[in-house]
Symmetry: C2
């Protein structure tokens, strides 16, 4: 019984890593599609999101089965409930990568971001991809060193997100209203993606240490 249970827990952990890996791939491709106005790549990300949704459902069903059949307690129970929360955050990250790809597709053959903000968005994209990689690493190793990197990356994302709105509000901004909308949404998608990454990191950190860090502490 105990052996089956450990195998089930292991399987849930593996599935989280698989979802996180797919999310990272999705964001990497979305960013290339977004920066390079590559509509085929955008289409690929949009189509691949169904697989992430499927895996999330599968993981959730598996977790509920383990709860029902094994009646876990203490740290195992928290691990399983934590996995349900992490799968929800990862699924949402997949959606946000898809939203970025959808913006790229909508504006094809133009690029979404005007030249004045290309460097900012390149950095936002890099930070999101970094967070996504670090989240996978954290799920694999449970080494909490990654948590600090994820938090620092998110702090920088918040700064950049703020700077986008400052740029738009400045008198020098003379882009079309449609571009203003795109930039606003894109910046928010990148910011939310990073934020969900932090949620996953906080959850892993809690499961490893048993200490819940309040949200304010993490930023």
């Amino acid at each position: 019984m105990r052996k089956v249970f450990q195998a089930e827990l292991h399987q849930i952990g593996e599935e989280l890593i698989e979802i996180s890996t797919l999310v990272t791939e999705a964001m990497e491709k979305s960013v290339r599609a977004f920066a390079g106005a590559d509509v085929e790549l955008a289409q690929e990300v949009i189509a691949a999101d169904a697989r992430i949704d499927f895996l999330q459902n599968d993981l959730d069903e598996r977790a509920i089965d383990v709860l029902a059949l094994q009646g876990p307690v203490a740290s195992d129970l928290r691990m399983i409930v934590g996995s349900l929360r992490m799968s929800a955050s990862l699924e949402r990250m997949g959606d946000l990568a898809r939203h970025v790809a959808q913006l790229a597709r909508l504006r094809y053959p133009s690029t979404v971001i005007p030249a004045s903000l290309t460097a900012t968005f390149d950095e936002l994209a890099e930070l999101d991809i970094l967070i996504s990689h670090k989240v996978t690493e954290l799920l694999e190793t449970r080494e909490l060193a990654s948590v600090t990197d994820i938090q620092s990356a998110k702090a920088r994302i918040s700064e950049l997100h703020g700077s986008v709105f400052k740029a738009i509000a400045s008198p020098d901004w003379n882009e079309s209203a449609a571009t203003t909308v795109d930039v606003t949404l894109a910046s928010r998608y990148f910011e939310r993606f990073g934020d969900h990454g932090v949620s996953v990191a906080r959850k892993v950190s809690y499961l490893v240490t048993g200490q819940w860090q309040p949200e304010g502490f993490m930023v």
Copy 2:
């Protein structure tokens, strides 16, 4: 044992209703603050959000205790796991109501929305408040009649959300870039709020009928 368990389940249900009621109040006040540039009311909503977050944590801890101590199975287990998901959606709805209030505070003493879109945003706000009331009703009664109303309201929100972007992209749009940003974000906040309401409704519907409705089916 069974009696304690039923009392615990009942308590979780009551707490969901309490959170949903607070979310509705938050959105009602936010909308008044937003439409009437009422900074004090906005401040009230922003401060009250901590209570929603507290109740969500409390509910989650309670649910995990029930899982650990009572080892529920079958429909009770799904109810508890479903409650964890619903509390997460409701907490997010509270955040979105707070974001609307924050926009109102940021632009005070001006209003956020230009005259040309006031009617659209009034309707968006009304629909969100309707959804929020219906969600509370659904949690109280488990009468699935509300689910259809929630879905219809969300379908209309999606239309209005689309019409906002059409208005911005039209040649008649001559608002400032800052207003364009505000309108974009506000429309997205109202749209997301409704979407989370639909998530809660789908979850209740699933718990009552045992039938999961795929997302596409609901919109």
